[in-house]
Amino acid sequence: MRITALVKRIVLQLVRDKRTLALLLVAPLLILTLMHFLFTSNDVPSTIGVVGASSEMIERLESQDFEVSIVEKMTSSEEVVVKEELDGLFYFDGDKIELTLENEDPSQSGMLQAKLRQVLSPAVNDSTIEVTYVYGSEDTTFFDVLSPVLVGFFVFFFVFLISGIGLLRERTTGTLERLLATPIKRWEIVFGYLIGYGLFAVIQTIVVVVYAVNVLDMILLGSIWHVLLINGLIALVALSLGILLSSFAASEFQMIQFIPLVIIPQVFFTGIIPIGRMPDWLQGLSKIMPISYGANALKNVMYKGQELVDVQFELMVLSGFALVFILLNILALKKHRNQ
């Protein structure tokens, strides 16, 4: 029968395509495992500074597993929080209590605030606590923090996919081979691709950033030029990674298979889930994820209003990733020609 023959053929094809098979079976497990670890390590931030607290109060906080450091207040609370890398700072001034939260992650701040109120509740009246925020305000939502990250992620994802499939099509239609039968050098091909698709990546970046800031009213405390520069670097990394991985794919279908393997794990490390609260080995993993640097830089510039010098480390790492991928691309073309 036609149908049985068809089914048989499909089964046979799939069994022979080991990679598709592996993707079908192993990749979901991989992602599920990753998500399991990510979402179960959800500790409440616990480094608290206190100014002028009674020893009884300090004991009470410490009994609830808070790491309490006694600070002498000299400058503003905000500065102390940033300098001492605290999650929050209590300033006790007689009956008045000021709580300054770092608020790097609004959802974590909410949890911290709730827990602190609980600790203090029998002794202190809720309404006497005055809460201020270093970053954002009480109206800050998770999305405000997330949005810079999303901008970077979408730039990364689409540039990756389009450039990858672009070079792939060139290989599957035979035009790459035809191209390599001309005296063009390998690095010329790589740079041609980088520049060609780079142009579109730049346009895409501009459109995304301008739309996010002006239409979606995304928080932008830093300079839009800095945001464009960071996104440009993210795009360059995505571009070089996309064309690099495309040389390990035999068809568009196999290129798509890189998404759950390469793109989705990166989503987890963009700061959607706070990296600082992950288990150590996951934090280590975040260090090899290019997008975690891009997301961090974007967050610092857009949400915290930092300057380029403050994110120079991230920018350097991104450039490093791009450089390595570009060199690997030139090497990968060796498969087709030696010069």
Binding site: E177, A181, P183, N338, Q339
Partner: protein, 246 residues
């Protein structure tokens, strides 16, 4: 000096012996036919000659220099078995793109494009997207691209496969003209025996072995048969006994 010299070229992928000790050469103004059924290793040999693949042993020389060398590609026109064209570009854009790969100036480009399109009679379709071309038009455009940089050596992998007899004849007429008027050296692969008749020298390949070579007339005399198909069968049979122990 031979334009192309293939010396003892062997190629193996793992356990598969694709080519064994292939040896032949092509002189200026010659059409050399690489004859053999599909799967005999012709395309692999072409790729080795183009420098896209490395021989396991043996060497290739083009214009007296050892392949691979980028500058030799300037003198080598290549037409692959499949029409490797940019479908969403026009014929003219394809030609311009490849012309730029050879670093031709604008004026040179214009002259060569005009010349090669006239040669393959594509003038009227130059502004159309390649995706709209017929199979024959795509083959002709591929040939035009292979000629764009005015190379001394032309390597054509199955140039006439899948095209109508009329066009096939016009392509062969063109090859003959390139040979006589422009003294080009042309290496062409085919598995059609009546095309073999039009070559000056034949190299017959079967299962990666060169079973015999010579001009069509020489081969017919040598094997004492009326046509080339029989030469192939007879030579193949003899060679087969040599290289495959039973």
């Amino acid at each position: 000096m031979s334009i192309l010299r293939v010396t003892d070229v062997s190629k193996r992928y793992g356990k598969h012996q694709i080519l064994s000790d292939i040896q032949f050469s092509a002189e200026k103004g010659q059409i050399v036919g690489l004859i053999g059924p599909s799967g005999s290793g012709k395309t692999t040999l072409i790729k080795i000659i183009m420098g896209m693949d490395k021989p396991s042993t043996g060497k290739i020389e083009v214009l007296g220099e050892r392949v691979p060398k980028l500058k030799l590609l300037q003198q080598t026109g290549y037409m692959a078995q499949s029409d490797a064209l940019y479908q969403d570009l026009t014929g003219h854009e394809n030609l311009t793109f490849f012309a730029s790969m050879f670093l031709m100036t604008k004026i040179e480009q214009k002259e060569r494009i005009a010349y090669v399109t006239e040669l393959v009679q594509l003038e009227s379709a130059l502004k159309k997207k390649v995706a709209t071309y017929s199979g024959g038009m795509k083959r002709r455009l591929s040939l035009a691209i292979a000629l764009i940089q005015n190379p001394q050596l032309l390597i054509l992998d199955e140039p006439t496969v899948g095209i109508d007899p009329e066009l096939r004849q016009s392509i062969w007429k063109e090859l003959a003209r390139l040979k006589t008027e422009e003294q080009k050296t042309i290496l062409v692969t085919t598995h059609v025996m009546d095309e073999a008749e039009k070559c000056d020298v034949l190299a017959m390949i079967r299962e990666g072995h060169l079973i015999t070579s010579g001009s069509p007339q020489e081969l017919r005399t040598k094997y004492d048969v009326p046509n080339l198909e029989d030469v192939f069968l007879k030579a193949g049979g003899e060679a087969h006994a040599d290289y495959s122990p039973r």
